[in-house]
């Protein structure tokens, strides 16, 4: 049996890669996908901990994370499409209107 710490390490690595993706990419769609990657990394950690505790609570929480992620993707993509209609360009470098 693989120890849970391996899963947690993998979760950390995936999360770090997702963070790098959010930072280095300029296409909002790819940034969004990197956010999905980070959500998945957190889910792996939840399931690994639940497995270690021998309870289904971790899995139940992952189920809710999935539901929230589905809602988030739908709304987020609608926002990106709305921005594209307004600006006709798709780069986060152009979207500095609300930056302090």
């Amino acid at each position: 049996m693989v120890p849970e710490s391996w899963y947690l390490t993998l979760s950390a690595v995936l999360f770090a890669i997702g963070v790098v993706g959010v930072i280095v990419r300029r296409n909002p769609l790819v940034i969004f996908m990197s956010i999905e990657l980070m959500l998945n990394a957190a889910n792996v950690a939840f399931v690994a901990f639940g497995h270690r505790q021998g309870s289904g609570d971790g899995q139940a929480i992952v189920f809710f994370v999935m539901a929230v992620a589905a809602a988030e993707v739908a709304v987020g993509l609608a926002i990106i499409v709305a921005i594209f209609r307004l600006r006709h360009r798709l780069s986060v470098d152009d979207l500095s209107l609300m930056r302090w």
Binding site: M1, V2, W6, Y7, L10, V13, L14, I17, G18, V20, G21, V24, R25, N27, L29, V30, F32, M33, S34, E36, L37, N40, N43, V44, V47, A48, G50, H51, G56, D57, Q59, A60, V62, F63, F64, M66, A67, V68, A69, A70, A71, E72, V73, A74, V75, L77, A78, I79, I80, V81, A82, F84, L90
Partner: protein
């Protein structure tokens, strides 16, 4: 044995995540994310979370990635689909590849047991999470439906064209 499988799956997951981040083409990134989600689903299986593995494939790799690809196609119009087909040989290969995929499916279907289903097995991961969702987590579970409805209404509002 389990360790070897874990290392292979984890390698696929990390490699596809790196591909997602460092590939310039957004569609390639989306396909890498599909591979990553599939690898994570296999990891869920190794942890005894069968329900989550199936939900991962259906919700993430199915519904969410289709949304992503649709958005990419709408927002980033490529030049690949206009003019003469530069990858004609690929199209010709599509049929044999599809056939090769169909063959194992047919073998599996032919080998499937006929007759009534065997009696239910001992309580497993699916049963425990179902019990939790409909007892301890019943209220969050119901709130999820409100959340999804709100998201749906919000998307309709955001994607509506302004009149006049």
């Amino acid at each position: 044995m389990g360790a070897v499988a874990f290392v292979i799956i984890a390698g696929i997951a990390v490699g596809s995540a790196l591909g997602l981040v460092f590939k310039r083409n957004a569609i390639h990134a989306a396909l890498f994310l599909v591979v990553n989600l599939g690898a994570v689903a296999v990891l869920y299986l190794t942890l005894g979370a069968q329900f989550l593995a199936v939900a991962q494939i259906a919700v993430y790799a199915g519904a969410i990635m289709v949304l992503f690809l649709f958005a990419i196609f709408v927002l980033i119009p490529g030049k690949e689909e206009t003019g003469p087909d530069p990858r004609r040989s690929y199209r010709i290969l599509a049929l044999p590849v599809g056939g090769a995929l169909l063959a194992p499916l047919a073998i599996v279907l032919a080998a499937a047991p006929r007759g009534p289903a065997p009696p239910a097995a001992a309580p497993d991961g699916v049963e425990s999470i179902a019990r939790l969702l409909f007892t301890d987590y019943l209220f969050p579970f119901e709130v999820t439906s409100v959340l999804l409805l709100a998201a749906m209404v919000g998307v309709l509002l955001l994607s509506r064209r302004r009149e006049g």
